[in-house]
Symmetry: C2
Subunit: 224 residues, 2 copies
């Protein structure tokens, strides 16, 4: 608590860390569940290890929460419901849809987290950037998806459609977080240029999040 | 490969390590699945962390497999089906049954693994003992189960029954492994006293495994 913090203060930092911690816990559960459905033992090991890495990132976030005088469970609790609805609405029906959701489905949430972390104290901000930048073995997922898409045009167009569904539902989830957490709205306003009005902030946020999503889909060769 | 090995040789060591690795992967998947069903965020974090520890143990086993010149996936593969049938036959119907299965359901498999590891080279044997001894946060599970059982006699007697079911199915799984893997039968014979005949070995093994199971149930205050 003795560390100097930026204008946003430790309460804002704890809120962002709580959201990030919950997102990593959700990533862990999802990857572990995907692992049990993997078609081969190799892929099961791969996805289990990716799940393990999400858990390690959660521990890094937990350490920072402790440094700021918070406790993990209470700071995570307010975000516990956010992804439940998203997951219910985006249940993958094939192994490829599942992989795509693992890679792009949560990219929007990560980008949002990065943006609201920008006005936080430098230590917390750097941690958020580092945790979100550590995409584990995502490279392997990208390779598998691009290769599959390149070989099967029908699959590619189905996945492109699935990608649009995922981004739509993700933006809905972000909207839900902003509506329920005034602190997140404040942080978003601080991140944007000073001349932005509240109504515009969300519009601009969605434009940024959509552009980043399109960049990820292009990386996979899955453009509409 | 230059390391001196005991009479059992590296192939036997790789077989035991493969079985242990698969058992840790199964523990990881099971604990991660249990975590998503946990009634509170605290318990969900707890079980997720226990899953993460199973994965860390898997990595330790994987390192040793590499030292012995093996590869993880091929040595695990022969054991990939073992626990599927066990899990199908012992689907928990309540949260308490799930916790009991996490604690005692796999204890039999662990004890069996310890026994067939006894004749291996000292480095591998010590690793197996250490990996199986690292029961993570099992203490918390023991506390939760003993307290719940002490407060609710009906629950306690149901769980005692469930424990008997678990040990019966576990012994069936061990029998399946012995039937399918001659290497495991050899190791078991080496572990037993020299005067034992093959038919007796399994009988004695089952007596030891049942006694260890009873000890765990007593620790929980769940005696029939």
């Amino acid at each position: 608590m003795s560390e100097p913090t930026a204008d946003a203060g430790p309460d804002n930092a704890l809120a962002v860390l709580g959201m990030l911690a919950y997102s990593e816990l959700a990533a862990f559960s999802r990857l572990a569940a995907d692992a049990t459905l993997a078609p081969s033992l190799d892929q099961r090991l791969e996805l289990s290890r990716m799940a393990g890495m999400a858990l390690e990132r959660l521990e890094q976030v937990s350490d920072r929460v402790g440094e700021l005088g918070g406790e993990l469970q209470p700071v995570m609790q307010p975000f516990a419901g956010v992804l439940v609805e998203f997951d219910r609405r985006t249940e993958p029906s094939t192994w490829w849809e599942r992989l795509l959701k693992a890679y792009v489905g949560y990219g929007v949430a990560d980008d949002f987290c990065r943006m609201v972390a920008a006005p936080l104290d430098p230590t917390t901000r750097d941690l958020v950037v580092q945790v979100l930048g550590d995409d584990g073995h995502a490279g392997l997922v990208v390779t598998a998806l691009s290769e599959a898409g390149a070989q099967d045009a029908t699959l590619a167009s189905r996945l492109a459609l699935w990608g649009r569904r995922l981004v739509g539902e993700s933006l809905g989830a972000v909207q839900g977080v902003l509506a329920a957490h005034p602190r997140m709205r404040d942080l978003l306003m601080q991140t944007m240029d000073d001349d932005v009005v509240p109504g515009e902030a969300q519009q601009r946020l969605f434009a940024v999040l959509t552009a980043e999503h399109s960049r990820r889909m292009e990386r996979l060769g899955l453009t509409p």
